[in-house]
Symmetry: D2
Subunit: 394 residues, 4 copies
């Protein structure tokens, strides 16, 4: 497996600390859950908490322990089938849509599986043979952090379908955050360098640092707020075809969409479902849970546009960011010189370079220090169950 | 609500005993379950155990306690929305397909809800005002028994999707039962009476006892066995269009069906998933889990046919039955003089008199004494997650 | 091929006259068409006029000329593939949904094909070898008459999609016909005989004359009129769930149905598309183009029901009929003793005995003398592009 | 309507000649057709020849004659509804999927409509009031040329569904063309200018000439040939997941795709349907009718990639092109400074800037002189009924 690009150097002790911290964090996130909450997969695109817990362990078992750790005893031969998310190189996998039907193994047994893997991993990390594998091991921890974010957003989606509006944590401060800056940042025309360049970890799709020529542009220092977006709704934005992409308008028409995800109008006042329960919409807070279609239509209505990912990255050191995944106007495509890694580790980022748009930034659900300015997130333009928001450019 | 037809007389004490026994049985059925098992709804047509537990309580709350029991305190105002299965007269209801997403209320809270309803019901049953309602109360217990059967068959379906093949109860003897009789019963031409006629309970669709003229026929004393059905498979029955109804052939072609539900061929030998786990198919045991389409094709291949529901009922006192729901050749339609009950109790049997076929008999999952010779079960012709089997006629 | 049941005796000369008359009538029906009108198949269930013209010729070619007529020269080897509607015994066939894409052969070439087949058929009919085949030949003419009715109803459906509302024939008097009788016919309880019994032609599904026991009933002498149905619409019949079968209500909800097919409300007045163009609805005229679901809901709203097909047939000699295909309350299922004919001729009526309902009567589009009191037409309960109507029973 | 960007200057006489030539060419293309061929729309994405003929006339009527030509008599008030393809600003339009059901107006009447519009247009073009409109008038001719290409490719698709394999023109030399050059063109790193810059006509999506920074690359002087693609097929390219985008592999799996569109394997030899009928595949000829997914997988299998649209345009003056629409690795998105035109003319190119990929070049079906190096064609990645091909880069 060609993993030379993931990072230059990494010490065993640093990796061990990181491994322990990340693994503990996943379990920590599940503490407020009842056993029932671990099970459902109400939508194709989401996965049950129990599956996230098991899959992230499977990743280490399938990618590291089984191929490289001598004497490793596989926990259960069918778990490989049950908890492989995608990697066809590694063997068969259960049908994605059926994850919510897998009541067994139980939550307790999944926790036992995690402990089994952790024990073997900790032994393996300090072994001699692991020294060439540290970068792959680190990849596993970043992979788990991605699933931490999905675990939260998937859970929120499941809870949102329940008319009881379950509370994940009453003190959850998700999506009540405000802008730290206002106004516009002016960027001058010229050549900029884009892509990962530091000694730290990155994914393969960030590599291939290259030059781009950007024309002068302005990029907003602030995210669009709920109050600003309500103006768009009030102005009839959802029913005026002229602001929308053709497929966007078809999507809102077919799905009867006229507001961000999780919004409800109760007695004439906007509320939204949050992980702390149903709350009145704070007009000063930053908008979340809109699709690319909505972001694009809003920007058009404002007479502006979304920044490209290159414009975003070039300005990133002067922006406050990390509160929303910001839709950019860029399709998710390979950088010049992009190479897919060989083997199973290559079966991820490059496979989805079609029909998806790039998001930059990070969000309240992103594990701290997981993100960086060169990080390229991507989703289909109609998805909005992530904490997605809007930053304007002109 | 016109419920005069459900039964002639019923004593309070008899009802109370029945109520307690039925309610306890539902909980008893769930004992082998882990908490996770209560949650999923992997298919539209099935429901989670948790939902069955709550819905059967909701029935008493919505049909009896709220309208008739003075001073009844509703357990939770949103439960009515969550656990109403169908009855539009009684108010809004949650989307059927989302039942598997409702992780809250928890299993424990559903059990508390059951206890709350039971306590109020026991008080109500012995009250003066209940005396006119006994027949409706009995209807509720029969309704719950129907859900007991669904609880088991739905659970089996969920478990069957799990490649681990979970065991519900290791001593479960489901579908290993054998025929008690062989040969043919000859029935002579003439007028027979069909429909419910005793003083006991029945559903509205069994009422309207009426005369039918039957021509001479023979009906098998035995069910079709696994071994007999394997002959059909071996003979290429699933690939010869001539045996099939057009929509049946379309169905097996589109769904890639070439065997009964839950069957697997392992190393050339037939196995099936049972509630005791994966087991070799016993060729002497009675066939289960076939659709009407398969039953009809099998009968055609044998040069025979399925009995009509009238033929079945006319012969019923000379048949051993109750091991399988037997597909009949009759569409589910109203008897002469059929009247839909007014109000919510009328919103059930009559609503489904289109595109469904009648099944008679009962099954290993049917609560004992729930069934009777006039009982009319009905399903769409492609469904087979019930314990459905075949009895031939000629 | 076992065709002994189609009729007892038939003279060559009688058949020859019938053949010529029926074949000429199909072409006659197409006279008002432009070449463009012969081509489209806008819906799966309908077929283009050109296809009907060719398929009815193919029937004689494939069933009679190729297997039985010595020295017959097949017109074009690929026509068999193009114009086989269903008969799997006779070989491959083009995908049903693609009929509208077959611009070639041209209309002119299809007419040449008809002439080629007619010439060979006329020679064959008078040959010695045809004497044993006369009943099969007659079947072909009845088959063609069925397609004459479909040709008209399919064409009406295609035209109806055109906002220009094309006129087929300005003097077309379709669906402006009125009732010839009013009041109720009382039928007494007892045994009746059902099924075909005369020496004339019938289809296999009418055979197996048998006894049924009918309870006393009343059947309307008149069809439901447009004006009566408008009362149902005005009374909110389409939005009151209590009148509808569950699948019927689902169908009208999903398809946004609130009126008969081809009806338009223009400036507050009901109009309908007819083969003579768009016309105001005549309230005295007989209702047409309703589904079984609508017929059933209307009857329920009136506190009545639809007659069963046995009730209809038992009363048929005292009814005026033949103006509408009347939905009965009977599912389309085999009569006692029903046998599917061997070979291709058996691949028709018996294959559809599931999920369809029986219609009796005939319609303004039915060729004269094609129908008879024992004739069993059948369609899925949501179909309404035939001239379907309602007769009530109680 | 802001059309200032379409071109700088244009003389009346030049426009008149262009108008006449383009209009005549559309009719010329239809000469080999029978009346039946004008009607069908077998797929959502294609349109009938009759519709193309009428729609291109409607464009001039709706955009020019009705708003600007005094005294213009509309030909038929419902044609506007029937032949509006998309432009919501201009009013209602018929459902796109129903175009194939519109047998009326007849082909002859559509030709009369064209003559009516042509007569009015020729009068209008020479009128004083037209002088400010010349650029819009020219847009109409380019619009018609686009439909000329679609008319041919849509017709080919309809014909291809017919097992008779109709011949459009026996002398049609479509897709038997060969490469004019071989080898690789090396392009050096640096800043290039992209976008339309000449005084001639262009569409709005080509405007906004801007600088891009390109890294050094090589681009093939030749298109991929049938023979080269057959090697990919032989090597199992369609069944090896590693070469494919995830959605590409899903698409070929679901649609059972294992070869280019219109290819058939007959007795072990590749044939393809062409407008001259079914022909053996010439291995030296240039490949056509592949999707982006196939183009991308083929390039990956070769260890190469597709050029970006910027790379293509920068090299375009050194390439022979115009034989295939070449899939680029670029998503179809706005250039910097892209502005949607106001009014109906703006309702086209900008609306589709999502989920589509850019194609450059032109094809054998593109009207001569219609294309140019800055022309940006775009289709969804699974479409392949255009003459689409592959040029590699590395």
């Amino acid at each position: 497996m060609s993993i030379s690009h993931f990072r230059d150097t990494l010490e065993v002790q640093e990796l061990m600390e990181r491994y322990r911290k990340v693994r503990a964090r996943t379990v920590e996130l599940c503490k407020p859950l009842g056993i029932e909450d671990y099970v459902p997969q109400p939508r194709f695109f989401a996965s049950p908490p129990k599956w996230h817990l098991a899959h992230t362990s499977w990743f280490f078992e399938a990618m590291v322990l089984k191929p490289f750790a001598e004497k490793y005893n596989e926990y259960h031969e069918q778990f490989s089938y049950l908890f492989n998310s995608y990697y066809k190189t590694v063997g068969d996998r259960a049908v994605r849509e059926e994850r919510g039907a897998m009541t067994r193994p139980s939550v307790q047994e999944v926790m036992n599986y995690r402990a089994h893997v952790d024990s073997a991993m900790e032994e393996y990390i300090t072994s001699d043979s692991a020294q060439d594998m540290l970068l792959l091991l680190e990849l596993g921890t970043h992979h788990e952090q991605q699933h931490q974010e999905l675990l939260i957003t998937d859970l929120k989606h499941t809870f949102s379908l329940n008319p009881i509006f379950p509370v994940y944590r009453a003190d959850s401060n998700h999506i009540i955050d405000h802008n730290d800056a206002v106004g516009w940042l002016s960027m001058s025309e010229g050549i900029y360098e884009i892509g990962h360049n530091s000694s730290g970890f990155c994914f393969d799709n960030e590599l291939g640092r290259h030059k781009v020529y950007l024309h002068a542009y302005e990029i907003s220092k602030s995210y669009v707020t709920n109050g600003e977006y309500i103006e768009f709704i009030k102005a009839g934005g959802y029913s005026d075809f002229s602001f929308w992409l053709d497929e966007g308008y078809e999507w809102i028409s077919k799905e009867n969409i006229d507001r961000p995800l999780y919004w409800y109008c109760i007695d004439g006042k906007w509320h939204y479902y949050t992980l702390a329960g149903l709350k009145p919409v704070d007009p000063e807070a930053i908008l979340a849970h809109v699709s690319y279609y909505e972001a694009q239509a809003y920007a058009t209505w404002r007479g502006m546009r979304l920044p490209t990912e290159q414009e975003w990255e070039a300005a990133s050191d002067q922006l406050h960011y990390g509160k929303r995944w910001e839709w950019t106007g860029s399709a998710y495509l390979p950088y010049p010189g992009f190479k897919i890694a060989e083997g199973a580790a290559g079966e991820y980022n490059g496979k989805f370079m079609i029909n998806t748009m790039v998001l930059r930034g990070g969000s309240v659900a992103t594990p701290s220090k997981h993100c960086r300015p060169t990080y390229r997130n991507f989703f289909h333009p109609h998805h909005r169950w992530q904490y997605t928001g809007i930053r304007l450019a002109k």
